[in-house]
Symmetry: C2
């Protein structure tokens, strides 16, 4: 019997092994399919990624051929490889990042090269025994100091890479062990090849389908405000369940769009840092007020925290609304709608760089509604005695008042941005079509309901869809 069960076990293992083996190609196929799907999605989400990859290939091939022929004809010799290195490490996704890295690298190479030659000279006059000791002390000291300076937040944001290259070049030049004439040639060649590589990057980055960090920050700011607007437009209807509109009931994605705004701080700060390196481009001048975008972003996140609180009430399953809710429903729905419309108007204004026109009327509406709501709340509960039933509704009302305040703050800061960045005044006639525009917005929103990026762009010439990078 025992033998039999052993046999059973063995054949069981064999069978399982065979099944596993048979499943292997299936698994491999599934992985490959998954890989293909992810690849396609990455490319479709932002086609600029594909273009960027091709640009890197282009810049690197150009410099590689230069290296190839240089090595053959031996004027830079083995140092020409630094041009390749520079291209690979300097070429970044956006123009700002590439320019920042390129300038950092070139400047740091220049300064550290000069200092390194000085250090080398001072060490060489101190004799054979003293030389390695003095060099060691120099390298240790500058590496420690430069590394510590990299911890300064302001320097880290803009010059981190420059300091890295400074440490590197100083060490290379000072300890190279060459004679005086050799070392000058070494430093000169390193600088020349680094500049060649950096120039190749900057030229390809700017002149072949450029990706501007400033434009990205601009779009992201607008998109984030729009996401909050989309949520708020639908919130009133969804919470009070008063809509027969499928648009607001069926579409879950537009409810959760705001979540990404909660964690947008890092990406906004990075983009703003890159944007400051960029020259004027398109609708943006050099010294465009990028800092103001960060302020708008902070207020937008503030608003998003309040929306996060509101969202908690959407998911809680209150089937029966108390009598009292009917009383404030209209005002709350109106407030939510007005907040949403105001934010969408602001998003559109930022996107098209025109001064927000109808937003003031929405803000005025919000103020009136806030007053009305306060009056309604002041008049008490009516017949309702169970406070527990009423609390969710009153909390929602109180949060909507907070959101309205947030909307006012965002409006003020977008207005400040508009005057700092000289947004265009809107033409009179488009002012009249605000009502009409909202109709179109609605119909467009239906069309794009499947997308989580709703693009509404009636006035602007360049109607590229907004995208978070």
């Amino acid at each position: 019997m025992e033998m039999g069960s052993g046999d059973d076990e063995r054949s069981g293992i064999l069978a399982r092994g065979w099944l596993l083996l048979k499943a292997l190609p299936e698994k491999f196929k599934a992985k490959m399919v998954n890989f293909a799907v992810v690849t396609k999605k990455l490319g479709q989400d932002d086609p600029r990624r594909v273009i960027h990859s091709l640009k890197v290939g282009l810049a690197l091939s150009l410099v590689s051929l230069f290296y190839y022929f240089e090595t053959l004809f031996n004027s830079f010799g083995v140092y020409a490889m630094w041009a390749i290195m520079t291209v690979v490490v300097v070429f970044e996704f956006s123009v700002g990042a590439t320019l920042g890295k390129g300038l950092n690298r070139a400047m740091a190479t220049l300064v550290a090269g000069a200092l390194g030659i000085g250090a080398h000279y001072m060490a060489s006059i101190s004799g054979n025994v003293g030389e390695p000791i003095i060099l060691g002390i120099f390298v240790f000291f500058q590496a420690a100091v430069s590394t510590f300076i990299r911890f300064f937040p302001k320097i880290k944001a803009r010059y981190d890479y420059g300091l890295l290259i400074f440490i590197l070049t100083f060490a290379l030049v000072s300890v190279s062990g060459f004679r005086e004439d050799e070392i000058l040639e070494f430093a000169h060649k390193r600088l020349a090849t680094v500049v060649i590589g950096a120039c190749a990057c900057v030229v390809v980055s700017i002149f072949v389908c450029p990706v501007w960090a400033g434009q990205d920050l601009h779009n992201l700011t607008s998109l984030n405000i729009e996401k909050l607007g989309t949520f708020l437009e639908g919130f009133g209807y969804r919470y009070f369940g008063a809509t027969e509109d499928e648009e607001f009931k069926g579409n879950e994605s537009f409810v959760h769009g705001y979540k990404s705004v909660l964690n947008s701080k890092t990406i906004e700060e990075t983009l703003a840092n890159f944007a400051r390196w960029e020259p004027g481009h398109g609708r943006f001048m050099y010294r465009h007020p990028w800092k103001q975008y960060l302020k708008v972003g902070t207020l937008t996140r503030q608003c998003a925290y309040r929306i996060e609180a509101l969202n908690g009430f959407l998911s809680s399953d209150i089937q029966v609304q108390p009598e009292f809710a009917r009383k404030i429903e209209d005002t709350c729905t109106k407030m939510s709608l007005d907040s949403g419309k105001a934010l969408k108007e602001l998003a559109l204004a930022v996107k098209t760089m025109t001064r927000p026109s109808s937003v003031d009327s929405h803000v005025a509406n919000l103020k009136t509604s806030t007053k009305n709501l306060r009056c309604l709340l002041k008049s008490g509960l009516g017949n309702e005695t169970d406070l527990l039933k009423v609390i969710p509704v009153t909390t929602v009302a109180s949060l909507l008042i907070d959101v309205a305040m947030s909307v006012e703050e965002i409006t003020a800061s977008v207005n400040e941005l508009a005057s700092l960045a000289h947004f265009k005044q809107k033409a009179k006639d488009t002012n009249l079509t605000v009502e009409k525009r909202h109709e179109v917005v609605k119909s467009l929103a239906k069309v794009n309901a499947a997308d989580d990026v709703i693009t509404v762009d009636l006035e602007s010439e360049n109607s590229v869809p907004l995208r978070a990078s």
Copy 2:
């Protein structure tokens, strides 16, 4: 007259110029003083920064001297500079980051070197005309594909640097234009020097005052939970103004400590990525459940969003509390205090890696309080008819119920962490001193009130203050 006013203007300009000139040394002095203050603060906030700077200096001096003597005796020749480069670019603040970069660099150099030799061979057999064309195509193709692969989120998190070095080395080796025997030497020397540099980094990083990313993540998780706990412990007293305790009234910094938790996502994810490269160290095994820390972190942030909403009510200036508030004051204060104590208990448990013991009693208290609060709210407003006055209090009550739910979730996920990471069971006798511990916590909190990091550490052996890096 005009002449006179022109003279006045000129002398005015001169006087202003003189004032500006006189102010220059003052300004310079002020800048230097400011610089010194910032430097001192950076060093004091985290002395590991100073140590790290010295470590970089040490590693670089070691490798530089190796380079210096190598160049003199010429066995690696000019390629020895790659050892210096490797040290400068690979040495990072934490062991995990250094190991990750070092392994990425070494592996990528090995693989890309082999492929590069293959590409070079294939190009060289195609004749003088075909060679540069084929090489250009190879370089373009691999750079474009590798660059695109860097966009995959999972690969970006762990292997971004490896792909960069892959592109670099492949281009260098394949287009080097050397003969067959030279290219083997070139690839071999590059690999050897890179490995030497990487080893120097890893050895200094691990054996001289190591900074573990895992430890940092662990401390940060604990610190963030503690910050929320500190806020909640004080909130009830502060909001209902029922305390005579100076500790809760005077200290503003402990109220705003939680703000940093809102934006902690990026740093937590970065640390977790680094931690996964680290070998076992101290109390952490290899394959410590770092992912669970991220889950705890997400729930902590969720709770922080709710606290952000609560904080809004602290700053609003309601002088007179309505009659109704008196009714629920005790229960709310108790809930806030219990939530705070539970969170602090959890923070302590994470920090000392012991299973949380008394937290269950706090959670049970919270459940009872929630029930009580619901009952009180169910019984209605009493004499109060002005809903507007009551709303802030009821909103606070409702938010506190949400926070209590958050605390339960955090407790569950910390318990999961405790079982995944095999936290120690606490000894029985310490269980009995919970009451006493809270007394000590209070007195300690008074002592440390000036600090925004309150360190309470009675059981753990290593009572280093928690620090956010």
